[in-house]
């Protein structure tokens, strides 16, 4: 299992578009992806769950990736938060 933290840079937080990109990547993987904000933990494959996390710009999230392709998926998610989730 890989665990790391990401900062939400998207203006407006994890709204529909960044959440969709994240869920899309998580769903393509063979690993489980879990996102947590404080005590609240959600399945990274469910867009509604990711949006209900209510992550705002500047929030730090803990991401857990567990499975066969965890290294690849973790790298892709980090990149998403660095680049595309800025929108």
């Amino acid at each position: 299992m890989i665990q790391f933290q990401v900062t939400v840079t998207a203006e407006g937080g994890l709204h529909a578009r960044p959440a969709a990109l994240l869920v899309s990547r998580a769903s393509q993987s063979r690993s489980t992806v879990t996102l947590a904000k404080g005590d609240k933990q959600v399945d990274g494959r469910s867009i509604l769950s990711v949006m209900t996390l209510g992550a705002a710009q500047g929030d730090v999230l803990t991401v857990q990736v567990d499975g066969a392709d965890e290294e690849e998926v973790a790298a892709a998610i980090k990149e998403l938060f660095d680049k595309e989730c800025k929108v």
Binding site: E11, G12, G13, H15, A16, R17, A20, L21, V23, S24, S46, I47, L48, M51, T52, G54, A56
Partner: protein
């Protein structure tokens, strides 16, 4: 009787999703945002509204209301998760022009008013007004059919008919 036996065996349920807006029905593929057009968010259809009132398309519960009130997600009593995103890129309006009438956790009936919005404010911000209505948990959907009519009336006409898979099917 055979039909009822059949449906009981499958435990499927037919659900009508009413039009949440009055306007023109637009295929998702024509929505100017790739995450909706390519169905990354989910499968469904869009409506380009001519009136700024969003009503509930189903009986259900408000699962998520965006802090900026430009989008709302409901979970229907039948188990469908439905996301309605008013306009494209409207997150940048930061709530301006959107007035919510419900809160997270509220039970709603089909036709209940959810959000009022100003079409003019959205247009002036340079955003498209077309509003995707998508099912975000497509794994529970067995079949989906969008109405054939080009125009729909909010809360009065169906937008989609969906067959929801049973728990054991």
């Amino acid at each position: 009787m055979l039909r009822s036996l059949f449906s009981r065996k499958k435990k499927q349920q037919e659900v009508t999703i009413l039009a949440p807006l009055t306007g023109v029905v637009v295929p998702l593929s024509e929505v100017p945002d790739p995450v909706f057009a390519q169905q990354v968010v989910g499968d469904g259809v869009a409506i380009d509204p001519i009136e700024g009132v969003l009503v509930s398309p189903v009986d259900g519960k408000v699962t998520h209301l965006f802090p900026t009130h430009h989008a709302i997600a409901l979970t229907s009593d039948s188990g469908l998760e439905i996301l309605m995103h008013i306009g494209i890129d409207t997150v940048k309006l930061k709530g301006k022009g959107f007035t919510p009438f419900v809160a997270v956790g509220d039970q709603v009936k089909a036709g209940d008013k959810l959000i009022e919005f100003q079409l003019e404010t959205i247009r002036q911000a340079g955003c498209a007004t077309v509003t995707p209505v998508v099912i975000t948990n497509g794994d529970v959907v067995a079949e989906k059919q969008v109405v054939a009519s080009p125009n729909v009336h909010a809360g009065q006409e169906p937008l989609m008919n969906v067959v929801v898979k049973g728990g054991t099917a």
